[in-house]
């Protein structure tokens, strides 16, 4: 292979791993140091115009994965390839160019805007850093345009405001505007609506979807809620304790899932319908502390279909149907 990367993809993550050193206190006065494998051997490929959903419980490594892909963390192992080069080896200049291409929207709109910046300063800052627009007036015009695009009309009324003078939904729109102002080709949204009131969530989600399609972005949307992911992503990957346990086109995954954890996750989403009562049959207990991962398949202590082999051996990923991968001992490769 002459090129490191398949040119159809914007970003490719190859076997990335991230370890953190953490201090744990177990009934003792003095702390103990341990290694937390937050992300464990993950492979991802992202295409323009396509949205990948990343689902899992808190602490499963979704956000760490996102930050690795954006170069906010350095992976302990593995490569992240963008346009033929490994981003983990970027020099300062290359990194700055990469920043222009990859952006993120954060979970908490009350946290992601600097409280001491006016909205116009928030939006113009990236333009100043990347020297876009020849003068302040031009930059202001770009900021106004993007504000109108994300539905904050008329833009002039918002430019002079501070974040605390806006509602959560409006702030999240500003955050989207900031992410898009540099015309990125990759967008990662980390739980973009989970802090917002239910009645306005759909508006933000459809705005995101519109932007992704219009601008032909490669996107990743992180959420703990499969029912929300369904509305935005084309593919969905389910994560458990740092690993992707199942990945498939979203509707396919909802209709036909193979991993017991996905099964449980789907079962667990409560329905706004009194006729469908929850019954959790596919899972036991709570997720262990990621510091003490079980041996073998890390899901085995909670799995109702656990076999002997699950306790000893880590499963390998198999393609069970076209484009549908599972990491589970229950399933064998269709081709082999």
């Amino acid at each position: 292979m002459s090129s490191l990367q398949d040119s159809r993809y914007i970003l490719e993550a190859n076997n990335i791993r991230k370890d953190f050193n953490v201090k744990v206190k177990n009934n003792k006065i003095v702390a103990e140091e341990k290694i937390l494998k937050a992300v464990d051997n993950i492979n991802l490929k992202i295409k323009p115009g396509e949205t990948l959903g990343l689902v899992g419980e808190s602490g499963c490594g979704k956000t760490t994965t996102a930050k690795l892909l954006l170069g906010l963390y350095k992976p302990t192992e593995g490569k992240i390839i963008c346009e033929g080069t490994d981003i983990t080896a970027f020099k300062r200049k290359q990194l700055k160019a990469f920043r222009k291409k990859a952006q993120m929207i954060f979970q908490d709109p009350y946290e992601s805007l600097n409280p001491r910046f006016k909205i116009k300063d928030v939006l113009i800052e990236p333009l100043i850093i990347h020297k876009i627009g020849s003068n302040y007036k031009e930059q202001l015009k770009i900021a106004e345009d993007i504000l109108e695009e994300v539905g904050l009309k008329p833009a002039q009324t918002y430019l002079e405001r501070y974040p605390h003078e806006m509602s959560g939904g409006q702030r999240q729109r500003v955050a989207i505007a900031r992410a898009l102002i540099l015309n990125p080709s990759l967008l990662i949204a980390d739980e973009p609506v989970s802090m917002l009131d239910v009645s306005i969530r759909a508006g933000i989600l459809s705005l995101l979807r519109k932007m992704i399609k219009e601008r032909n972005l490669a996107a990743i949307c992180i959420s703990h809620d499969l029912s929300l992911i369904r509305y935005i992503s084309d593919y969905t990957a389910v994560m458990y304790l740092g690993k992707i346990v199942e990945i498939a086109p979203t509707e396919q995954l909802i209709k036909k899932r193979f991993h017991p954890y996905t099964e449980a996750l789907l079962e667990a989403v409560p329905n706004p319908d009194p006729d469908f009562k929850i019954s959790l049959q596919n899972i036991k207990g709570e997720a262990p502390n990621p510091v003490d991962k079980p041996n073998g398949c890390s899901f085995h202590p909670r799995c109702v279909k656990c076999m002997e082999i699950c306790k000893k051996e880590q499963p390998q990923q198999v393609e069970i149907e076209k484009g549908h991968f599972v990491l589970c001992h229950l399933h064998k490769n269709k081709n082999s």
């Binding site: 009934n27 419980e57 808190s58 509602s167 939904g169 009131d197 239910v198 009645s199 306005i200 969530r201 759909a202 508006g203 933000i204 989600l205 459809s206 703990h224 809620d225 499969l226 029912s227 929300l228 369904r230 509305y231 509707e251 909802i254 449980a264 996750l265 789907l266 079962e267 667990a268 989403v269 409560p270 329905n271 706004p272 319908d273 009194p274 469908f276 009562k277 929850i278 019954s279 959790l280 899972i283 709570e286 997720a287 502390n289």
Partner: protein, 338 residues
């Protein structure tokens, strides 16, 4: 028999900017054995309302008018000490953020025993035994009783709080967003556990949440709050199948579902009203696609239906509105008159 009855209750907050009427003339009752869901967006006054029932309004909040009857006794007329004795024994509570509701420096067992001993002449050993029973009830290992809260996961803390709430077999339990901070699976486990406990539990419960699906899973009755008022109240099945208030219709649309085909997710445009200003007419009118002239002039009247009520000026046309409300075009910003 009516266990709890709120009669025309209004609650005011004093703030630097002025008085806020967080709860406005609410009438609501709950019968023995009933599980009432109270649903609404943040700032709609749901938490304020339940805090007034248990007598724990913050210092700047006061019940401006109305009565709260519990077993035919007006709670607002009780002395502080009489009210204190009612708490937990008759009315217990599962707080909003169970994560922070346990005192970090005491063992869980200590905190449960304390609650029991505050109301019962009972030895420490017996109280501890009761705590063990409770732990079994909520699905926690007895051995973990002597842990500190920080050694528990979020779900375990929530279970511990539920155990504590059940300790004295109260007549009513008020649960304020009991599962909001939890992960999906843990949330479902807790909801399942609550459902199971409710089967054997004689008393009533008020469950406050912003999540319609949680209500659908647990409650028998539901009250929908908006801008300090209850806009609709009724049997859960009825409200979910045939919502009568446009807000309920919109709220129902906004919830994604995994069951069946993907249907459009629709959001309600605009933001909730600012309660600092006095509002004339219906409080939902600014966000309602069906609002008419009358809505901004008069307060809507109560329409009683079997097992419930709602407040809307267009009560006659509700069948038609329901059909319209399920369409995405209806809820576009442009269709809403300022």
């Amino acid at each position: 028999m009516k266990l709890l009855e709120l009669n025309n209750v209004s609650i005011d907050y004093k703030t630097i900017e002025g008085n806020i009427r967080a709860v406005d003339k609410i009438c609501l009752s709950i019968e023995d054995g009933e599980i009432l869901g109270l649903v609404g967006e943040s700032g709609c006054g749901k938490t304020t309302l339940i805090k007034s029932i248990i007598g724990l309004l913050p210092q700047n909040g006061t019940v401006a008018e109305g009565e709260i009857f519990f077993e035919n006794e007006n709670l607002l007329k009780l002395t502080k000490d009489e009210m204190r004795k009612k708490r937990w024994k008759d009315i217990s509570m599962i707080t909003q953020s169970a994560m922070n509701s346990l005192n970090p420096v005491y063992k869980i067992s200590w905190q449960i025993v304390e609650a029991i001993q505050a109301h019962k002449e009972i030895s420490k050993e017996d109280a501890y035994k009761r705590a063990e029973e409770l732990f079994e009830l909520v699905g926690l290992e007895k051995g973990r009783l002597n842990d500190y809260p920080h050694q528990y996961s979020g779900g375990m803390k929530q279970r511990a709080i539920i155990a504590m709430a059940l300790a004295l077999n109260p007549k009513i339990i008020i649960a304020d967003e009991p599962t909001t901070a939890l992960d999906v699976i843990v949330q479902s486990q807790i909801l399942e556990r609550i459902n199971k406990l409710l089967e054997n539990y004689q008393g009533s419960m008020i469950l406050v949440t912003h999540d319609m699906s949680v209500i659908a899973q647990t409650c028998t009755k539901v009250a929908v709050m908006y801008g300090g008022k209850i806009v609709e109240y009724g049997e859960v099945n009825q409200v979910f199948k045939e919502p009568n208030h446009p807000y309920t219709m919109g709220l129902k649309n906004a919830f994604p579902s995994l069951v069946g085909e993907k249907n459009d997710l629709i959001s309600i445009p605009g933001i909730p009203p600012n309660l600092l200003n006095e509002i004339k007419g219906c409080r939902f009118k600014d966000r309602c696609p069906f609002s008419i002239e009358k809505c901004s002039q008069e307060n809507p009247k109560k329409t009683n239906i079997e097992e419930g009520f709602f407040y809307c000026h267009r009560e006659e046309e509700r069948e038609k509105l329901r059909v319209l409300a399920s369409k995405q075009e209806t809820w576009l910003q442009e269709n809403i008159k300022e």
